[in-house]
Symmetry: C4
Subunit: 230 residues, 4 copies
Amino acid sequence: MDPCYVVSRCYETRINLVDDFADKLTDSGSTIPSGLIAAALAHAFALFVAVSVGANISGGHVNPAVTFGAFLGGNITLLRSILYWIAQLLGSVVACLLLKLATGGLETSAFSLSSGVSVWNALVFEIVTTFGLVYTVYATAVDPKKGNVGIVAPIAIGFIVGANILIGDAFDGASMNPAVSFGPAVVSWTWTHHWVYWLGPFISAAIAAIVYDNIFIDESTHEQLPVTEF
Amino acid sequence: MDPCYVVSRCYETRINLVDDFADKLTDSGSTIPSGLIAAALAHAFALFVAVSVGANISGGHVNPAVTFGAFLGGNITLLRSILYWIAQLLGSVVACLLLKLATGGLETSAFSLSSGVSVWNALVFEIVTTFGLVYTVYATAVDPKKGNVGIVAPIAIGFIVGANILIGDAFDGASMNPAVSFGPAVVSWTWTHHWVYWLGPFISAAIAAIVYDNIFIDESTHEQLPVTEF
Amino acid sequence: MDPCYVVSRCYETRINLVDDFADKLTDSGSTIPSGLIAAALAHAFALFVAVSVGANISGGHVNPAVTFGAFLGGNITLLRSILYWIAQLLGSVVACLLLKLATGGLETSAFSLSSGVSVWNALVFEIVTTFGLVYTVYATAVDPKKGNVGIVAPIAIGFIVGANILIGDAFDGASMNPAVSFGPAVVSWTWTHHWVYWLGPFISAAIAAIVYDNIFIDESTHEQLPVTEF
Amino acid sequence: MDPCYVVSRCYETRINLVDDFADKLTDSGSTIPSGLIAAALAHAFALFVAVSVGANISGGHVNPAVTFGAFLGGNITLLRSILYWIAQLLGSVVACLLLKLATGGLETSAFSLSSGVSVWNALVFEIVTTFGLVYTVYATAVDPKKGNVGIVAPIAIGFIVGANILIGDAFDGASMNPAVSFGPAVVSWTWTHHWVYWLGPFISAAIAAIVYDNIFIDESTHEQLPVTEF
């Protein structure tokens, strides 16, 4: 349990700050295309960088759902998963407090469903979009057969989130990351439908991890999975 | 006929879900630049990811026209082509049904020609834009001389589609992919001009495949074409 | 004088079609940010792809000014330069005719200066922006010391054009490429200020080529310059 | 003290011209999303290219704060740092003068705080955003453990700036680079709050450099730090 990992986790999750800032600033505009584009690009660029930055040190875990998938797939231990989760949630809360400090008290509203969107609709959205993210992590970064695709993996992981936000943001905020939803929820103390942003991503992370691990990754190479590269 | 291929095909085509979602959501906005940019970025990012994700397993076939070109060029068998086509069309239909489910019944309108655009205009557009796509696939991913360009090939393939949408979306939707047009057509049961979205891409895929295969790929290296990398 | 080169030149220049289309479609919107973004992204994506696509075969020459710089730097012969220039201009004209055909006669207006922009302002703009482009081509693709930067060179070359358009498009169209200006000028038969789009890029291509060749590229490695990679 | 370095420094900083142009042109629009997107993309693309272009020759230093971090980390000497700083500031001033020349006297307003944003808010913003930039430079380009991430490092460095602008531009211009603020301040001779754009970035560059150097870079490999790659 190298302390480096914890420090690194905190920092990487801190990059979600960018996400949170972008979400807040473009919040009122997210149902009109240009606000939507700003949010999608901010998330895509920031996640790409977060994964690149963390790849050398701890594997770029900034998402509790992805960490959960990696745990289910046997790629990290339960203890390390718990440490990562704590760092991710802490980072998100600190980010929201920093935002409040830097903006002189700008309201940090929690993720919420748009009017007319039921919790079941939102759950389907979170499952579908997070599945794409976790599957991309597996196929481009975890899979030992990845080859040259591994070089552009951080870009692919960032951009699938950007693409998903372009489709889901108008409905439920397209979180795909429980930590990103957690910080604003704590700071604004708003917990309505918060479970949707945990259950959806965890369900699809589990499905993606199990499916990919069992079908596409050859058993013989399984033991040598590069833990540090997603 | 490894079952992995079929599962993988389904998933990769499922990413067209992103495309379809984006198309629907930005539909009303696609004639004004910011809606256009949202659609172009969503397609560019999603296709880049789809190709990256599929490259390890089955070659990233998410487009019946590209598969047709690969078949004409002798890179895959007819049987595998047919399996791919079925998976691609199935994925597109499932995607549209999921969209309906997630949005509580949002209308999934089929691709259609803008007013004042004749079927011949649209056919030229589909031929020109799809030619660019298939030629890019050949030059950056199939060609044994590709070298380092192969590393950024998935990005190039995604971004040429983004560029093409920026020019063609206002005219006929710039499908470049019969599967992307097929799902909405089935779900909305609208078949007007649907043939345009098949004939155009297939014509240019055939031209691009034959031209590239015969002129630019050296005969001596032809037998060792890397089937799994486009 | 392999015929492949000529065919390839034609195709690569044909991608300027994307540029021309984008320019026309977003023309009325280019002074407002979202039309500007659409134009910048279309050019950035398309040029990145054009360079990637051509790198294997002829070096990705789609710009008479870049070809001129390569000729001055002694990297290609005069005869080949002339062949490239013909193919580039032909490609641009064909692209504009195809646009007219596909759109049922949409007006293809030539590049022009915005009101209040003098020819000297425009000349400075073309020199400054094209210098950035040609310098980027040299530093990331031609320079034998390029190393890993060569892998992302096509992206860098495309994106510097995108960045330049974001700054220059509102002033003079930010052509940076005489061929891109030539096609619309022929089809609309408008030659006012057309010389600006040739003189500016040629001046800065000459400066960039001479400066880079003499200062940054070591004489000892000069003879082995990789002709086929820009 | 090779003269090449000074020339190269000037050029690389000159690319900030793109930044400055974009800032000016989109200034009035930067509080609305599409102007914001244009500014973010222009900076992201231009910085990516500036880093790529300079990587071969001098390491892509275009930011006094990044140079300061490299000096603190013992990667470059004080003398070279001073030369770089002079070149960076000179480049920024020349860029603003060129802008004035090319536009026929367009006003080059200095960076300023939006109404309601205190200097302390702005300082926090500059510290948080520049920290992300310098940390990214260390993790993706300086760190000897960077591996394949080094290939996409210039893109990551450019895009983190793009992401940061999407969040900070509406507040204080999100400079993250004292040189970018210096040119407009000189040309418009406006020095109100100018110290914020120096103090903020220098504080976080110092923190990022010290933290990264001491925690994440193994002492044993420290002596062989690749000076020329950031």
